[in-house]
């Protein structure tokens, strides 16, 4: 009977798959540096919307998949995403009532943290590209967040994901 309360699991999965595809789709070299952190944004949204289902462990798993598809060090994104999921779970009640621009700013900060973790790990393994370059995705994610938020909210309300 417990499972009947949860609905739309396939939608959540599909949104993650789509985000994963977007984060490895080939782009011209200039745009590649600007690529927003799609996976992290989708993770933050679901953590915020259905915190009872999506949490640190899902974040870790999703990060592991991104690690493999980007051929990064195994566990690099997993750790960063687990941290992001943890913070979002802590803040989700506050994030929900923020106006959208303020929400975008907080998401920007969260993704900046994620990039920072990745930057540290890269620095430790001797392949650091430089601080500001690594922070570009955080800014582009901040700009894209309202679109993602409105889209996923629409999807969640239409299909009644809970």
């Amino acid at each position: 009977m417990r499972f009947s309360q949860h609905r739309g699991g396939w939608l959540i999965t599909f949104s993650f798959v789509l985000a994963l595809a977007l984060s490895i789709i080939p782009l011209p070299a200039m745009l590649e540096l600007l690529r927003p952190e799609w996976m992290a944004m989708v993770l933050i949204y679901w953590c915020m919307a259905v915190p009872s289902r999506i949490g640190v462990s899902i974040g870790w798993l999703v990060g592991l998949l991104l690690d493999v598809s980007r051929d990064a060090l195994l566990g690099q994104y997993a750790l960063a995403f687990a941290l992001v999921a943890f913070l979002t779970l802590h803040l989700h009640q506050r994030l929900r009532v923020f106006p959208i621009w303020q929400q975008a700013l907080s998401v920007g900060v969260l993704i900046m943290l994620e990039c920072l973790v990745v930057l540290w790990i890269k620095g430790l393994t001797g392949q650091s590209p430089g601080f500001w370059k690594m922070m570009i995705p955080a800014f582009t994610s901040l700009l894209v967040w309202p679109v993602i938020y409105l889209l996923l909210r629409h999807v969640r309300r239409t299909y009644n994901v809970s």
């Binding site: 798959v17 994963l20 595809a21 490895i24 789709i25 080939p26 782009l27 070299a29 590649e32 540096l33 690529r35 592991l64 998949l65 690690d67 493999v68 598809s69 980007r70 051929d71 990064a72 060090l73 195994l74 566990g75 690099q76 750790l79 790990i121 890269k122 393994t125 001797g126 392949q127 590209p129 370059k133």
Partner: protein, 267 residues
């Protein structure tokens, strides 16, 4: 993470997860492949004819050169026999295709569509294209593999100057797509335009493959070493098909093969 960075233990975990991700990587690369395909199908008749004549001419030229080469090869083998030196055997190759997938923008890596299931690929296997050395495999998964290009900052390639045999190590410069030759003294005999070929030292790349051409030599007496920049010959950004090479490792009579450790790694 430390386990992955320092050891080999989590290789199977990565391979397993890579199988899950592979269909997605394949799907993502479909649009780019489709564009290529339409470009080929919709090419005009004149273009095709032009291409055909060009290719035929090139084929003829190459074939005449090949005849000469067969003769030289036979002569070389004969001379080596006379010298009782080791023989060079032909290398086995396999054609693989690149998947159009973007990895980390700050590293120079590509994904190819061949893996453990297709052939006995191994970590560190060299990758070349029609023009020169491209890189080597760093992760072999069941259906796909990842290769590090020679322009990656973490990649070092043992080379020698074709003109005089001067040895050097070329390290990738990352996003600029160039190589830097490290630790060459200011008075080293190296000039702009010199062809650099693989030296076969380090037991990863077979000797004698063209790799790069010297672009810039900057000798500043106040610095301990000359600054030598080279440009890779392989079309790292444009190639769609690559060759995987199984280097044939030479054995000298009476001497244990210095490269035998490289063979043991391949299953």
């Amino acid at each position: 993470m430390t386990l992955d960075h320092r050891t080999e233990y989590v290789r199977h975990v990565r391979a397993g997860l890579a199988v899950i991700v592979y269909p997605l990587q394949y799907l993502v690369s479909v649009p780019a492949n489709f564009l290529d395909w339409t470009g080929e199908t919709l090419a005009s008749r004149e273009t095709l004819q032009e291409q055909n004549t060009d290719l035929r001419r090139e084929n003829q030229a190459l074939r005449s050169q090949l005849h000469k080469l067969t003769f030289i090869e036979a002569e070389n083998r004969h001379l080596r026999e006379l010298l009782q030196s080791s023989k060079r055997i032909g290398e086995r190759v396999l054609i693989a295709e690149l998947l159009s997938v973007d990895l980390d923008p700050y590293r120079r890596q590509v994904v190819i569509n061949k893996g453990d299931q297709d052939d006995l690929l191994y970590r560190g296997q060299p990758l070349v294209d029609a023009y020169g050395v491209m890189g080597k495999l760093i992760h072999v998964n069941p259906f796909s593999s990842t290769a590090m290009l020679i322009t990656d900052p973490n990649h070092a390639l043992p080379l020698q100057v074709n003109r005089n045999g001067l040895r050097a190590v070329a390290v990738g410069m990352g996003s600029e797509g160039l190589l830097e030759l490290l630790h060459l003294p200011n008075n080293a005999d190296i000039q702009v335009g010199d062809l650099l070929v693989t030296s076969g030292l380090g037991c990863v790349f077979p000797a004698g493959y063209p790799a790069a051409r010297v672009l810039e030599v900057d000798t500043n007496p106040s610095l301990p070493f000359a600054r030598v920049i080279a440009e890779p010959l392989a079309h790292l950004d444009r190639s769609r098909e690559v060759l995987l090479v199984w280097p044939s490792l030479e054995t000298l009579p009476g001497v244990s093969n210095p490269c035998s450790f490289a063979v043991e790694e391949s299953p």
